[in-house]
């Protein structure tokens, strides 16, 4: 019922009047069914998260026995302690934040500029340039040639190897271009008629309207960089100052098996000190996803504002 009264402010008064006057029973049914479906979706997606959370706070050996659902059975902070005892933790966290922040801003800015160029309908090289980047999505040179290139470019064993490759990701490019294409051409064209150059149009007119899609792409880039570790391992494996959080966690997780295997396996004294792959994985998942979960609400408002742009009133 509430739903009906709480219209987005942007809808015109007239529409509001019409809507509040007659509450369509079909709409009511729709809202009801919709709520049901979404509640179900929430329930089944929330469960694995809560389960992982519970596991992360549970004693590792105890968790091996299974049967933990939403509440830890034998509470323990050991998993988190182990994670926070990781080598170079501080520098790793700084590097991770740094690469995520730099990549998200730089890659977004650069990709957005190119996608603007490709959204200009009369641009003569639109098609070949698009194809040039589209193909990059489907071809992959493999590990060794890429490594050799980066070494030749003196990127290995530097921080820049995290942010220089992959500046223009074709996927992001296409999503941005599609969004820009779906904006009325009149925005750009009128500015052009008024003599603005493309950089100005991009920065002053197109970019502000594209906030929702920028937020989306920034999120994609940030998540990708936040969770990357393979480049760290391949290009900077032995430099502690260039390590990242995810790489440290990966190392920790892949080592857990060998840690448990050197425990005393026959003694009485194995009292809740062992961590297991499952428990450490759960805690690492929480540590990894939390920053992004915290970041999300800030980006989220751009998706929810919807329905406020595109209002070309003439």
């Amino acid at each position: 019922m509430d739903n009906i009264e709480l219209e987005p402010k942007s809808e015109s008064a007239e529409v509001k009047r019409i809507r509040t006057k007659k509450i369509n029973p079909a709409d009511l049914l729709f809202v009801l069914i919709n709520s049901l479906i979404l509640s179900f979706a929430v329930a089944i997606t929330l469960y694995p998260i809560l389960n992982t959370l519970a596991l992360s706070f549970n004693d590792g050996l105890d968790a091996l026995r299974g049967g933990i659902y939403l509440i830890p059975r034998k509470f323990s902070l050991k998993n988190y302690e182990t994670i926070f005892n990781t080598n170079h933790l501080r520098i790793a966290a700084v590097n991770s934040v740094l690469r995520t922040a730099i990549a998200a801003t730089m890659h977004l800015a650069v990709t957005a500029l190119l996608s603007y160029v490709l959204s200009v309908k009369e641009f003569v090289f639109k098609k070949p340039v698009s194809l040039f980047f589209v193909l990059t999505m489907y071809v992959n040179a493999g590990l060794i040639p890429t490594f050799l290139l980066f070494r030749e470019l003196r990127l290995t064993n530097t921080f820049w190897v995290y942010v220089i490759p992959g500046i223009v990701a074709a996927f992001n490019l296409l999503v941005l271009r599609t969004y820009m294409n779906s904006l009325p051409d009149s925005y750009r064209e009128s500015a052009q008629i008024d003599g603005a150059n493309h950089i100005t149009i991009f920065i002053k007119i197109i970019a502000p309207i594209c906030k929702p899609v920028f937020a989306t792409i920034a999120l994609f880039i940030a998540v990708y960089h936040w969770s990357s570790w393979f480049d760290n391992m391949i290009y900077n494996p032995r430099n502690g100052n260039l390590t990242t959080l995810q790489y440290e966690l990966m190392k920790l997780m892949s080592s857990v098996t060998s840690q448990t295997s050197s425990n005393s396996a026959y003694g009485k004294s194995t009292q809740s000190v062992a961590i297991t792959p499952t428990s450490i994985r759960a805690a690492a998942t929480m540590v990894t996803s939390m920053p992004i979960v915290v970041l999300y609400p800030f980006l989220q408002r751009y998706f929810i504002t919807g329905l406020t742009i595109g209002g070309v009133k003439e």
Binding site: V124, V129, V175, T178
Partner: protein, 400 residues
């Protein structure tokens, strides 16, 4: 004209735009040569016409999206909508007619200059390493390097394509790729549409935040949970189905080869629906609110608006993602299949990537991995060219 629009916008809270436009106006004075570019009289006339069309389009788009049966009251709508459709299709598929000559190049010099660094970058980082593809034509040994390894021509490809087990994994990969594609599109779009209909801010934010969280769980965690739920031994799915009398006794879901692809498909849906829907939610923000108003005036209900305004509104995004993912149809990965498989369903669960892991990486054979990669690239490129052509013919958004 610009100023008008600025006024319109500032109401909607875009102060930046206002400043920007003023700057744009100043730019005009300083940059005469550029404003000279501002087109012949013909162009302006065409533009005005286009604007007029656009405006008309807004009013009609909604109606044209209605199924004939639904378009009730003001019914010139039906025949007109068909005409509208044809016109829009023509408009979309029409290439802007620009001739490639000196004059055009000069007029578009700014765009070209911006593009050049991108091309250089792309060439350096994406195309030069492709030299490594020669490995597929060699018996590559790291110790001999790319130039010192023995050349074997197409024999690696022959070996792959004639291998019975490769044909099997190709079939599996393709099947799972298609199932995943269809399911993940249907669910992500459906979810975005439904979520968009939630009008209460807090629940909406909550649902959205929850929905994308599983993206951060690794496959190994997700598979563990799926196995728990499908387990014969007190798995919740078996318990429900047995209690409802659908099954006589607990069923081992992983013993049925014909179910395996679907289990993988729905595992994907579970993990990625929320994440995939983010893009659609962003796209929905670009829909012109006037369309909803028009729909309301026509008496459309909530469902009607969702179906006839929101869904068509995100159509370009849907198409572009569809095209992109069509090329990725063979990239179904290996993790989830590897973690869910067992001896009995192995013949349906192995993917190209698992095959490469086993025969290539696991044995240190880089040539076979590269050759399989090239094979996948070629298929992907053929697919996207076909799909792009189809999209062009249909007047939909396309890749290039």
């Amino acid at each position: 004209m610009l100023i008008e629009r600025v006024a319109g916008f500032s109401d909607n809270g875009h102060p930046l735009l206002m400043k920007g436009s003023v700057a744009a106006v100043t730019d005009e004075k300083e940059n005469n040569s550029f404003s000279a570019e501002a087109d012949s009289a013909d162009d302006i006339a065409a533009k005005n016409k286009a604007d007029a069309i656009k405006r008309r389009e807004l009013a009609y788009t909604y109606r044209s999206n209605l199924a004939p049966g639904n378009a009730t009251d003001e019914d010139p709508g039906e025949p007109l909508s068909r005409a509208e459709k044809r016109r829009r299709k023509a408009e979309r598929s029409a290439e802007p007619k620009v001739k490639l000559n000196k004059k055009t190049l000069w007029r578009q010099k700014e765009l070209i200059i911006i593009t050049i660094p991108f091309i250089l970058y792309g060439f350096l980082f994406y195309y030069i390493p492709l030299g490594g593809w020669v490995m597929a034509f060699q018996k590559y040994k790291p110790q001999n390097g790319l130039f010192g390894s023995e050349w074997v021509g197409l024999s690696v490809f022959e070996r792959i394509l004639n291998d019975k087990s490769f044909q099997l994994v190709f079939r599996n990969t393709l099947a799972m790729g298609i199932i995943n594609l269809v399911l993940s599109f249907a669910f992500a779009i459906g979810f975005a549409l439904l979520l968009n209909e939630v009008r209460l801010r807090r629940p909406k934010k909550f649902v959205q935040t929850v929905s994308y969280l599983p993206h951060f769980l690794s496959w190994i965690i997700v598979v563990g949970i799926i196995r728990d739920m499908l387990s014969m031994d007190h798995g919740i799915v078996n318990e429900i189905l047995v209690n409802l009398g659908i099954f006589d006794g607990p069923v081992n879901f992983f013993s049925k080869p014909s179910w395996f692809w679907w289990i993988v498909g729905f595992s994907n849906v579970w993990k990625e629906t929320g994440w995939n829907s983010i893009i659609y939610l962003a796209a929905i923000t670009a829909i012109n609110p006037e369309m909803y108003e028009a729909a309301s005036l026509d008496g459309a209900g909530r469902f009607g608006k969702m179906w006839h305004v929101t869904l068509p509104g995100i159509r370009p995004t849907i198409f572009i993602l569809l095209l992109i993912n069509l090329g990725n149809v063979l990239n179904v990965g290996f993790e989830v299949q590897y973690l869910l498989t067992n001896g009995i369903v192995k013949s349906v669960s192995e993917t190209i990537d698992i095959w490469v892991l086993y025969w290539g990486i696991g044995q240190g054979d880089f040539s076979i991995g590269t050759a399989a990669g090239i094979f996948k690239s070629v298929i992907a490129i053929i697919l996207i060219f076909l799909a792009n052509g189809a999209a062009k013919a249909a007047g939909e958004e396309r890749l290039f």
